[in-house]
C-alpha cells in the first residue's frame, strides 16, 4: 500500500502543476473577448453547419479491434510473468490463445475491415 502513496501524491501534484500556469495565464494574460474572436476556427470563413458532423463506422472498427487486443494483453501479462516456471504445455496453451486472437485479426483483414476510408 505504501508504494501507492507516492503515486497518489504524484497524481495530485501532476494535476496541480499544469493547472497553475493555465490559471495564471487566465489571470495575467489579456482578456478581451469578442464574438468574432470566440467563434470557432474554420480557416477564416464563417462556421458552416453543426459541429457534430457524421462519423464513419471505420473508427469504431479500429477501436473494437484495439479493445480485443487490449484484453488479450491483460491475459498475457500474468502468463508472461509466470513464463519462466511454465512447462512446455503451459507455453503452448498461451500460444493457442494468441493464435485464436490472431484469427480475429485475420478475419478483420480479409473482410477489409482494416482499410482506412
Amino acid at each position: 500500500m505504501g508504494e501507492w502513496t507516492f503515486i497518489a501524491l504524484l497524481f495530485v501534484i501532476s494535476l496541480i502543476l499544469p493547472a497553475v500556469p493555465i490559471l495564471a495565464g487566465r489571470i495575467l494574460g489579456p482578456r478581451k473577448p469578442n464574438p468574432l474572436k470566440n467563434s470557432t476556427y474554420e480557416c477564416g470563413v464563417e462556421t458552416v453547419g453543426d459541429t457534430w458532423v457524421q462519423f464513419d463506422v471505420q473508427y469504431y472498427i479500429f477501436a473494437l479491434v484495439f479493445l480485443v487486443f487490449d484484453i488479450e494483453v491483460v491475459f498475457l501479462y500474468p502468463w508472461a510473468v509466470a513464463y519462466g516456471q511454465l512447462s512446455l504445455f503451459g507455453v503452448v496453451a498461451g500460444i493457442v490463445f494468441i493464435v485464436t486472437l490472431a484469427e480475429a485479426l485475420l478475419y478483420a483483414w480479409r473482410k477489409g475491415a482494416l482499410e482506412w476510408v
Binding site: 504524484l10 497524481f11 493555465i22 489579456p30 476556427y41 508472461a80 494468441i98
Partner: protein, 413 residues
Amino acid sequence: MGDIFTTIYNFLLSLLIGLGADQVVADAIITFLAAAVLATCVLLILIFNIWLERKVLGRIQDRIGPNRVGPYGIFQTVADLTKLLTKEIIIPSGADLVPFFLAPILMVASVILVWAVIPFTGKTIGTDVNIGVLYFVAVSSLGIMAVLLAGWSSNNKYALLGAFRAVAMLVSYEVPMILMLLVPVLLSGSMRMGEIAAAQSIWYVFSMPLAAFIFLIAMTAEIGRSPFDLLEAESEIVAGYQTEYSGFAFAMFYAAEWAHAFTMCALVATLFLGGWRGPGAEQYPTLGFIYLAIKIYVVYFFSIWSRGTLPRIRIDHVMSFCWKFLIPLALILIVLTTLVDKIAQILLINRFPNYLSMATPADMLPRAGILLAVNLVVGLVAIGWIALVGRRERRHQTAAEHPASVEAGMATR
C-alpha cells in the same frame, strides 16, 4: 555505498527528526517532496530538451537554430514561455468549459505519472509497484482520454476530426507497443521496472533487437513524430485537437508532447538498454543515474534524427502499416520466441544449468544467442515479405495509371 538520492533522503530524514517530527510524518513529508521535485524536474528539463531539439533539427536542416537569446540561444524556450504567458487564453463559443481545461491538464499528468516507475539508479525508483509495465500502459491511456476531451469540448469540426483521427492512430499503435512491452516481462519474469532493469546483464536490445525496433516504431507513432506526425498535419486537419487552444493552455499541450517524447525515450532506455546498468553502476549507484541519462539522450537523439529526416506518411498507409505489418510481426515474434526459448530451455538445461539466470553476462549468453537467432530470422523474413508486398503494390499502381508502360516493360523494374 549509497547513491546520491539515498544520501539526500537520509540527510532530510535526520534534519526533520532533528526538528521534532516523528518518523511517519518525516517520511510523508519526504515522499511529498520527492513527488513534487520529480514532477517539476520532468517539466523543467523540457526547457533544455526543446532547445536541444531545435538546435539539432536546425543542424540537420543546415540551419543554425535558435541563437539569439543567451549563449547559443539556450534561453530561447524561456523567452517563448514568457511570450505565451502574456497571450490571451481564448475560450471558443460553445466550448464545454470543464473538459476544455481538463484536457491539457490530464495530458501533462499522464506523462508525469509514468516517471513514478522509472528506476533512476539500482536503489532509487519513485515506487517499484509490482505491475510497473502495466501501470505505464494504463497511465498512457489517460493521454488518449485527454485527446478525446480536447476534441470534443472545443466545439470545432477540425478539433473533433483531428481528435478522432489521433485516437484511431494512438490506439492502433498502442497494440504493437503493449505486445512488445511483453518481451521484457517474459525475459525477466517480472513487471517491476526495477527488476527488469536489474535483469539486463545483457541488454535486451542485443537479445531481442527486433522487439526493440518494433517498440521504437510504435513509440514514434505514440509521440506523434515524423514519419507519423499526422496528429498535426496542418495541411489536412489544421492543428488537430489543439486547434482552439491558445496561450498557456496550448503551452501545456506543447509541453506534454515534448515530455511524452522524452518519457518514452526513458522507457526504451530502461526496458531495452539496461536502464541504469553499466560498468561500475552496482558499486557506485550514482554512476547508474549518469548512464541512464546518457542512454535516454542517445535514444532521444535518434528520435530527433528520424524527425528531421523522414517525410510524413499518408494516414491510410500509417494504419495499414500498423495493422497489416507491425501487429502480425509482433505476434509472430512473441509466439516463436516463447516456443523456441522454452524448447531450448528444456533441451539445454543440463548443459547450461544457468540458462534462466540473469546474474552475469556469461550466464545469459546461451539464451541471448538463441533469442538473437530467432529475432534475426524473423526480421529477415519480415523484410523480404514487406519488400515483396511493396513491389507488387507498386506494379499494380503503375499498371492502373499507365497501362501502356507495363506492356512496354517499363513497370517498376
